[in-house]
């Protein structure tokens, strides 16, 4: 009997210990899971892995990447929103966290999540997209494209990675800013979209600087426009939407870390501290350099401001697009 009582007391003591250790000031005391809502091998996955590895060194706790692909990121984003809000399940996301629910609304579906359910923790990269035409295209500048589209609306075609995706949206923004209409041909991914330009099936597409740079250097494609506010180191000659006066067409393929809005503020602050140290980790910087992804780190509040402005542009573009066809 006495043994049982001792055991019970010991048990309670251990349980009490467990309760105290899971308090925010000791975060993290166990492995942290990072949901990547895309399959391995994409931009989000490749950004998340070095971040997680650096956090592992900062926290001295395992950081686990869990790829939960599906529905343009929707499946993984929902999973991160419904996980226990203790800060041990976090989410890496890109602009689809804004565009997926917004396109659901336009298409008359009940959105599977709302972006208000997530708090931004940090942004790591924010690459603009580069608009390209085939190397032997008659279009030498973006103005040529706009002039041709104005002369004959719908005569200039582009391939996208899919409806409401990260190529469709900036093209709609650029067309809107220039007051013209382009012909949209949706493909099933950025690779097939680029292949369509090289095969001369459509006239233009967009892609990340690091992906397109070798094709541009070989002369296979020609860059005409950068959707960012500043020029990129890889392609310093390509004019930005600001240079050309189309600043409403500003668009970035960014990757950020989010948490459920239900996670206690102190825990989120802990994560932000950890991330601030992780982005200074030399191995992290070196790995992103290797992939030619410039680090565009922003801490929570700055990222929040950036994200709100970005979301407004994306949501407006999706409303303008309306239902495709």
């Amino acid at each position: 009997m006495q043994k049982i009582v001792t055991c019970l007391i010991a048990g309670i003591a251990v349980a009490g210990l467990a309760v105290t250790t899971s308090r925010a000031d000791d975060y993290p005391t166990k492995p942290v899971t990072f949901i990547v809502p895309f399959p391995p091998g994409g931009l989000v996955d490749f950004t998340a892995r070095p971040v997680a590895a650096a956090l592992e060194r900062v926290w001295k706790q395992p950081a686990v990447i869990a790829n939960r692909p599906g529905a343009g990121g929707g499946v993984g984003i929902v999973a991160a929103g419904t996980a226990r809000p203790d800060g041990y399940t976090l989410l890496f996301a890109h602009p689809s966290i804004t565009s997926v629910p917004a396109s659901d609304v336009v298409l008359g579906r009940k959105p599977s999540f709302d972006r208000e359910q997530y708090v931004p923790i940090a942004r790591f990269v924010a690459d603009p997209l580069i608009l390209v035409v085939k190397g032997d295209s008659p279009f030498k500048t973006f103005k040529d494209v706009v002039d041709a589209a104005r002369k004959e609306p719908g005569s200039v075609s582009y391939s996208s990675s899919g409806a409401y995706g990260a190529v469709h949206l900036p093209f709609e923004m650029a067309a809107h800013a220039a007051g013209v209409k382009f012909k949209h041909v949706a493909y099933t991914g950025g690779g097939p979209a680029l292949t369509a330009v090289l095969g001369n099936h459509v006239q233009m597409t967009m892609g990340s600087p690091s992906v397109l740079a070798p094709q541009i250097k070989s002369g296979a494609i020609r860059p005409l426009l950068n959707t960012g506010a500043k020029r990129v180191a890889l392609l310093p000659d390509v004019p930005t939407v600001y240079d050309l006066g189309y600043k409403d067409a500003e668009f970035y393929l960014w990757v950020g870390l989010f948490g459920s809005a239900k996670i206690p503020a102190e825990t989120i602050a802990k994560v932000r501290d950890g991330v601030a140290k992780a982005v200074k980790d030399p191995e992290f910087i070196q790995q992103l350099q290797k992939m030619q992804l410039p680090v565009e780190y922003q801490d929570g509040p700055d990222f929040d401001k950036f994200w709100k402005a970005d979301a407004e542009r994306i949501e407006a573009a999706i409303k303008r697009i309306g239902k495709v066809e």
Binding site: F46, I65, G70, A163, G191, P192, P214, Q215, S218, Q292
Partner: protein, 503 residues
């Protein structure tokens, strides 16, 4: 020519470096394991293992990934032949005659022919790739949506060739497959179709859970209903390897399959997955005894297996020659290169010759390794069949569950697999073949997307299919095939009448 020999020598000097060679071996072995595990195919295999290669030097990493890829292609045929469980869409065809051969006690020869056919096709394709890749890659880009429509129309016509029973039943099953292929978010408009509001269905049914269910699970259910357990005697060494007759019957299908597969694999996109289906239909058309197909015809195994592996190699051409991620697997490989700081582009050959030629040379080595690895394993794999059903099938079912779940950690996929298994059980008991369902399912989204892309590009004008020579040729061929199939019964009847009148 001497330039190519020189380049290849460079490649082999890289591929035969001990560290590269070891990782190539490891890749082949891991790939074979991944392929043998039911439900895990090459794409799932390399995506899951990609993060593990990030710590390796780039050439080593890419060689290992390639090893995993074609190792999985080899291994995938093993479960198809032994247990009727396809690891990916291409090995669905292997289930048809490969499994029937196994049921007739010819599992060993079936496995050996699959391995030899894959080796021959793989090697010929690598030679072709090293000789002509850069020249043809650019030309293959002309194959756009309109051409796809032509090719897929031909493929749809061949659907009826796939079943072993009546054509009407095959067509009904193809329609079922086409309908199932419509489930999910329409990539061109973003509309969710037939998803019943279930978010997990937004990307459509997965090909792997569907195929594993329809083929594998239904087979397990069917044999549970039969009492007579086939007795597989301990095979004699002579019965483990193909007879001379089997080998000579496989030679031409293997070579035809290689050429067909190589050409189809060059087409950017996912055309390579239909190469095995087309090869099967072709062999059946050419055969003097088409009624043997679906009942263990060795030609129906050798042709598609070769086509599949040839296409697997030539699918790398747009990636290697142009740096284009033209299909799902090259996209993952290119991503791996980018993670290593190599941005692949059209000048990969000039800028990274040791990587390019090392990769090509590693494919020669890998194919040989896989042949040497797989032939001795034949006897081991065949002895699996001697395990009593009561023990074997629960293990296989568990492995199916693990394999299918590991693809995207989705429980919905498991429900799809079991539902497809039960549906497959009833369909097959009612004498409906399930192979056309899978082909219809694969073709439906490809055909729909290409057709709509072609019509968007042409602003709705149908001329695009006639103006473009390749599209026009393919559609013309399809048209002639339809006319022929309409004319045949008529001509037969006319002839009958004439002979009667002659009486």
């Amino acid at each position: 020519m001497s330039a190519i020999l020189h380049d290849l020598a460079l490649g082999f000097s890289v591929a035969l470096t001990p560290s590269v060679l070891i990782y190539s071996l490891v890749g082949c072995i891991v790939g074979t394991l991944v392929g043998v595990l039911p439900g895990l195919g090459p794409l799932a295999g390399i995506s899951l293992l990609l993060p593990m290669t990030l710590g390796l030097p780039p050439t080593t990493a890419i060689v290992m990934l390639a090893g995993i890829y074609y190792g999985a292609m080899y291994g995938g045929s093993t479960t198809s032949i032994l247990m009727r469980i396809p690891g990916e869409s291409a090995s669905v065809v292997t289930c048809l005659d490969g499994y029937e051969m196994a049921r007739k006690g010819r599992a060993g020869p079936a496995l050996a022919i699959a391995a030899i056919g894959s080796f021959v096709a793989g090697t010929i394709s690598v030679v072709a790739l090293s000789l002509v890749a850069p020249q043809i890659a650019r030309y293959a880009l002309n194959f756009g949506p309109a051409e796809y429509v032509g090719l897929l129309t031909l493929a749809l016509l061949l659907l009826a060739q796939l079943g072993s029973g009546s054509k009407v039943r095959s067509l009904v099953m193809s329609l079922l497959g086409l309908a199932l292929g419509m489930i999910g978010i329409d990539p061109l408009t973003g509309y969710a179709r037939f998803t019943l509001g279930i978010p997990a269905l937004a990307d459509g049914l997965g090909i792997v859970p569907l195929a594993v269910g329809l083929f594998g699970i239904s087979e397990i259910l069917l044999s549970a209903g039969t009492r007579n357990v086939p007795k597989v005697a301990a095979p004699r060494l002579r019965d483990l390897y193909p007879s001379r007759a089997e080998l000579s019957a496989s030679t031409m299908p293997c070579l035809r399959g290689t050429v067909l597969g190589f050409v189809i694999g060059l087409i950017p996109g996912s055309a390579h997955i239909i190469s095995s289906f087309i090869s099967y239909a072709l062999e059946r058309k050419l055969s003097r005894t088409p009624e043997r197909f679906g009942k263990g015809a060795v030609e129906g195994l050798a042709g598609p297996e070769s086509a599949n592996n040839a296409a697997a190699v030539s699918a790398f051409v747009p990636m290697l020659a142009l740096g284009l991620p033209a299909g799902a697997i090259p996209a993952v490989m290119l991503a791996a290169l980018m993670a290593h700081g190599i941005s692949p582009g059209p000048r990969l050959i000039q800028e990274q010759p040791q990587l390019y030629w090392g990769f090509v040379a590693s494919m020669y080595v890998g194919n040989l390794v896989l042949l040497l690895l797989n032939l001795p394993l034949v006897s081991l794999f065949v002895s699996v069949l001697r395990i009593p059903y009561a023990i074997l099938y629960p293990i296989v079912t568990t492995m199916c569950v693990v394999g299918v779940y590991s693809i995207s950690s989705s429980v919905t996929d498991l429900w799809i697999m079991f539902a497809a298994g039960i549906a497959g059980y009833f369909l097959r008991r009612a004498n409906y073949d399930v192979a056309p369902v899978v082909l219809g399912f694969v073709l439906a989204p490809m055909f729909e997307v290409s057709l709509r892309q072609a019509l968007t590009i042409s602003s709705g004008s149908l001329w695009i299919f006639i103006e473009r020579p390749i599209a026009a040729t393919l559609l013309g061929t399809a048209f002639v095939l339809v006319l022929l199939s309409l004319w045949m019964p008529i001509s037969r009847r006319l002839e009958l009448r004439r002979t009667k009148a002659g009486d």
